[in-house]
Symmetry: C2
Subunit: 210 residues, 2 copies
DNA sequence: GAAAACATACCATACGGTCGGTATGAGTCA
DNA sequence: TGACTCATACCGACCGTATGGTATGTTTTC
């Protein structure tokens, strides 16, 4: 895959650098407004390299969504919220973690696949589906903890499942990002996560000293 | 403003028709991917008419956000969820109404200003702010009912306000739209509204027979 | 020496925007 | 009442550039 040169040791990383550039620039400008030259300039490669690695702009979009799924799942797998032995504590730690990483510029913490899915859900089913796989692949990891917590605490759910609550968590995140963008204020994304945390505590009958 | 001709009675409506086209096409393709010619074709006008009414594509974006704010506020003002005399019932009816109108094609019920804000929050502060005004102007109408319900039921809130809950409601909607797009399934947007309804009932201590 | 990994020059078209012109109707005044 | 003026609404050809994509050549590694 990667084949560095003695003269230019970064050679062979063009694909990765393009994907990283796509991750950063598409989150800032959106998919349609991002040009291939934007990506080449940011990745410091030429158009030839781009079309050597990706057959089209749409193919890059699919690859960027998959890259996002791979890198974020590694990132979240290594995150500290998995520490607690109690599954419910892990769920709440997840929400707290998501809240904690909402900082800095909006385009640095918002979700690439949410942004792309919003834009291309009609025009490019391939990108849309890749975004869906990335997004729901992530919710599945949270769903496992929710289900364990539900069973361990003997919660009999009427009207909701671990799967739906995991998706709802994702929806609150995505929606928070949109409000934050519309108001140009990351605090609005954190605010909705506070409501989500309160909701989860309610669902699991968490008492003050629990 | 509008000055119809005997031969062409629709004359004078070009601006409205362009705004309606913008509403429909931008929701489907996004702002950047929507071309001025797309809009002219859909509105059945020429480029000359477009640039007579809007100085630039960005100006159209601002006008489209404002048009969205005006039309949706009229739509929601006339909606049936204002019927109940009990303010909390109106809040719950609002959520139920939002859930009920999630039907048909995704681009028919999703939010224009949420879509646009997502795309242009960096590249066009003017459009972004117009989207924010539309979005938060709408949440303000819900906030009034929430605040009335809070007082009437003697709810002492710790950690949340009527304003934040109104915004959270909007976040759940916007996030639900994104999940629905990513999964190509409107049911996911409705699912999150069910969680939201359950959360609101909890916040207001709604009993079974309340 | 084969194949991958680039680089460079080039192309057709699409796109945002401009510009001069035309059509229509409202107001004015002799 | 009708000629005149003026502003608005709209038309459609044109322009410069940006953009996605291609074709071909060169370097590097195995």
């Amino acid at each position: 895959m990667s084949r560095p040169t003695k003269q230019s040791p970064e050679r062979g990383n063009a694909r990765i650098r393009l994907l990283e550039a796509a991750r950063d620039i598409i989150r800032e400008k959106g998919f349609a407004a991002t040009t291939i030259e934007d990506l080449c300039k940011a990745a410091d490669v030429t158009k030839g390299a781009f079309f050597h690695h990706f057959g089209s702009k749409e193919a890059l979009g699919v690859a960027a969504a998959e890259f996002w799924g791979e890198t974020t799942s590694a990132y979240f797998a290594a995150a500290p919220y998995h520490g607690p032995s109690e599954p419910l504590a892990r769920v709440l730690a997840y929400v707290a973690f998501r809240k904690a990483i909402i900082a800095g510029e909006l385009q640095e913490f918002t979700c690439l696949v949410g942004t792309m899915a919003q834009e291309v859900f009609v025009s490019s089913p391939d990108i849309r589906d890749a975004c869906g796989r990335s997004m729901f692949g992530h919710t599945a990891t949270l769903e496992a903890d929710i289900e364990m917590a539900r069973r361990k605490r003997g919660i009999t759910t009427t009207g909701w499942t671990a799967e739906s609550l995991a998706r709802h968590t994702q929806a609150v995140l995505q929606g928070g990002f949109i409000l934050a963008k519309a108001a140009n204020d990351p605090a609005l994304a954190r605010e909705s996560l506070d409501h989500l945390e309160r909701y989860i505590r309610y669902l699991f009958n968490v008492t003050e000293d629990d």
